[in-house]
Amino acid sequence: MNFLLEPLSIVTFSPLLGVLVLLFLKSEQKAALRWTALVTSLITFLISLWAFFFSGLYNPANGGLQLVAKYNWINVAGWDIRYYLAADGLSILLILLTTFLTPIAILSTWTAVEERVKDFMLFFLLLEVGMIGVFVAQDLFLFYIFWEFTLIPMYFLIGIWGGPNRLYAAVKFFLYTMAGSILMLLAILWLGINGGTFSVPDLVAQGNIPADTQLWLFIAFAAAFAIKVPMWPLHSWLPDAHVEAPTAGSVILAGVLLKMGTYGFLRFNLPLFPEASVQAAPVIGWLAVIGILYGAAVSFYQKDVKKLVAYSSVSHLGFVMLGMFALNAQGVAGAILQMVNHGLSTGALFLLVGMIYEQTHTRDLPVYGGLWKITPIFGTLTLIVGLSSMGLPGLNGFVGEFTILLGAFGAGMKDGVFAGAGGFWLAGLAAVGVILAAIYILYMFQKMFLGPAGEITKHHDLKDLNWREILTLLPLLVFIFWIGLYPKPFFDLMMPAIENLLMPFQAILMAAH
């Protein structure tokens, strides 16, 4: 049982202790259930902080995998499946984002979830295990198990505690995601069979996959990840899932689950199939740009706030994909940071929407209006988060979007990956997304908070945020400002790993041009 004592194992599985405690509590003990879940997730967060920063076991200056836990798991002729956990600069921020957002999401359910609290918390903690697992697994097989596992709790979270159309949304979410991942499974098996191992670092080190095969495998992996991201035009499940999911579910869905897709590209597609990545980069780049503009335009039209935010995710994650496939330091670093940013900003937006929804039970924009006068704190926080989401300099969103666009623009230079496939146009059009983002965010802000008082504002006795709600948002705000003003610690964490990641691409790009 040594493998359970590894730091990353403890991080990954510590929510299970909470699950155990929950099992012994009665469904009626709602407060105890909530506190158990909250404390568990907080402890998990603290453990993750300890593991990376205070244990002395993780050296941020090292670009390689660290905190390695590597044990044989399933080892029969030709099968070499390992229990292989590790973290590096590509995943550390996402692991921390997961452990950070989970307690916040749980806190947001304090009064929002009154039914079946026990089941809710159970699923939530299980979901956390799956999400952390996805980010720490270095064995394809193990990764796949965690990957698929996250589907189940989320499916229940949407399906049981969701809105009126929840069944449809839950099943759609499930089937879309599964459709993608099953193709990835085949590619994983192919890799395992031909490489004799499922361990990602070993497969990367072997790196002898012929270019045309690479492309097929790339597509198979991309199918899973692109649906999860979701990249345009595979986003059709997202508005449903987001709109129907309970607030905490939306927060986690936007904050972490979508990142699993982008992380997958980063962790698997790029290093495993470098030649194919270079080949596919323009296609992905263009899809990302379309997604950026399309998502922004479509969200501008929405009357449902949650849907608006959901479509904005399509736009934001387009930025992430664009930066990642710019395949230069700025682009990739920006992409990783933007994953975190999107988790914070969109997570916060969903929290805010959830908080007002709890009072008014409507998300219909036209019935709001003039809210700022009645709920100044709520309005101000929404404004800050909205500004962060549209990339106002000084807040986190800008740092991510700017570095991404800078990277994408650089990829249009003559030795870049987009040269000859649109060049500067990609970054140029993507930068138009910055304008469109301002349009839909301001539209949302205006329709809710500015203007004359709307029906809801007039006829409801609306209360401003209470202390618990402010406390829920505060940590997010701290990071929104921190990353915006002083992102250096965050970049420092990822840069060595990014340099390692990008090493092979120099040569490939040289050869290509």
């Binding site: 030709g78 698929e148 229940f156 839950a170 099943v171 499930f174 099953i182 085949l186």
Partner: protein, 482 residues
């Protein structure tokens, strides 16, 4: 009869004797104490299981002039069959009582059927294979009609019987042709005849094809599947549970044994056929299951589809490098399927009430709410049948896909993958109904049933986290075949 001969058939003999005695003993049991029969039958199975396991250390041990054998393969499967028998008793006991079909001969019949299954795994002569096939089938015919005079049950019994007998006609004729081609029904001899060139290959091929039909019927492969939904629906659910796991497993056992031992020379011809059968079975089973509203029919089509997945293990039959692993994967999946299938039928039994109430998928609405553990168990089975973590079904499916890929059958793996998505569609509907819709399902609380369901659910999860021993065992088991 030598000592080896005897030790080879010791478990089978004991179980047969036990069943016969049980039949007698049952006569002396008063009507209201038929529970004892069940307990005694379980005892017999447990005893046999003990003996089988005790013998398991010994190597390939042929008996009766090579007609029957005891080896790792048979041990693996016999343990599985005995387990199926035990589970079958566990789910039958309360149900039969509740449905008013608690008759003494039920358990002896079940034991006889298990004997047939065990013989099937042990047979190395086509004569024994045929006998075992019939021995396992006859009790099932009777049990399918066990709820007489309920029309559906009678209809199921007769349909099963007529079609079963019809298909065994093909098997017999196939055996005759194989015999004609090689001059023997001994599997080892047939193999030898082929390799020395003494055999008439066209005749043998035709024979193999006809035998395949018989087994295909037992495992419910398309296009020999059509009896399945009707019989599964019409038969008492307890019988269906037993049949869905046992008969299918036995069919695969025979398929593996016969095709593994006797027909490797025909592999190049048979393998593509298997791949096509597997693909058709997966596609048709899964697609048709989607349209079902009756739980039993849905599960029946699901079991057809699952057979398709297991058939994937035969697809790389012509690839020497891949087939051992493939067949081991097949055995592994068989276990995964058995557990999930038994579990889900167990839940169906828990919900079924007299006059065919509680069998619609909509009758599962709110199950997870009212009976969270039962709902959770059912969810585990559904996830396992889809092939999602943390269940055995995922590991099994991965083994099978891997087998197909290793055998170079990428298209088959893709078909498997795509149909898995389709399967999610209807399995999830059950989960949706259980957890996300409101309803007032009524469940009969029965200790044995719940214990069986719980044990199977936990097993499905635990083994998936630590699948290595089971797979290792499966791999050891198939070593002897090739």
């Amino acid at each position: 009869m030598t000592q080896t001969d005897f030790s080879t058939i010791l478990p089978v003999t004991i179980l047969t004797a036990w069943a016969s005695l049980l039949l007698l003993a049952d006569l002396f049991l008063p009507r209201e104490q038929k529970g004892w029969t069940a307990l005694l039958a379980a005892l017999g199975l447990a005893l046999t299981m003990g003996i089988t396991l005790a013998q398991s250390g010994q190597e390939f041990a042929p008996g009766f002039g090579g007609m029957i054998v005891r080896d790792g393969f048979s041990t693996f499967l016999n343990v599985l069959f005995l387990l199926i028998g035990l589970l079958g008793i566990a789910v039958s006991h309360g149900y039969n009582h509740r449905m008013g079909i608690e008759r003494g001969e039920y358990y002896p019949l079940m034991l006889f059927s298990v004997v047939g299954m065990m013989l099937m795994a042990q047979a190395t002569d086509l004569i024994v294979v045929f006998l075992a096939l019939e021995l396992l089938s006859f009790p099932l015919y009777v049990m399918a009609a066990f709820a007489y005079p309920k029309p559906q049950s009678e209809e199921a019994g007769l349909k099963y019987f007529l079609l079963g007998a019809f298909s065994s006609g093909f098997v017999v004729y196939g055996i005759a042709l194989a015999f004609g081609a090689t001059g023997s029904t001994d599997l080892a001899y047939i193999l030898a005849a082929v390799s020395t060139g003494a055999a008439s290959l066209p005749l043998l091929t035709a024979g193999a094809g006809l035998i395949l039909v018989g087994f295909g019927f037992k495992v419910a492969a398309v296009p020999f599947h059509m009896w399945t939904p009707d019989v599964y629906q019409g038969a008492p659910t307890s019988v269906t549970a037993f049949m869905a796991a046992g008969a299918k497993a036995a069919g695969f056992a025979a398929l593996l044994r016969v095709f593994g031992m006797a027909f490797p020379a025909l592999a190049a011809d048979l393998a593509p056929l298997m791949a096509i059968l597997a693909a058709l079975t997966m596609i048709l089973g899964n697609l048709v299951a989607v349209a079902q509203t009756d739980m039993k029919r849905m599960l029946a089509y699901s079991s057809i589809a699952q057979a398709g997945y297991i058939l994937m293990a035969f697809a790389p039959f012509d690839n020497e490098a891949a087939r051992t692993m493939a067949v081991a994967g097949g055995l592994f999946y068989l276990v995964a399927y058995t557990l999930a299938s038994f579990g889900s039928w167990g839940v169906v039994i828990a919900l079924e009430r007299a006059e065919d109430k509680g069998l619609q998928i909509t009758d599962y609405n709110g199950l997870g709410r009212k009976y969270p553990l039962l709902g959770a168990a059912m969810a585990v089975f559904m996830l396992s049948l889809i092939g999602l973590p943390p269940t055995l079904g995922l590991i099994g499916k991965i083994y099978l896909f891997r087998a197909a890929l290793e055998g170079g059958l990428v298209w088959l793996a893709i078909v498997g993958a795509l149909t898995s998505i389709v399967s999610a569609f209807y399995y999830l509907r059950v989960v949706v109904n259980m957890f996300m819709r409101e309803g007032q399902p009524q469940v009969e609380r029965e200790w044995w049933l719940e214990f069986a369901i719980g044990a199977v659910a936990i097993g499905t999860i635990i083994v998936s986290l630590w699948p290595f021993p089971l797979f290792d065992w499966a791999q050891q088991a198939v070593m002897v075949l090739f």
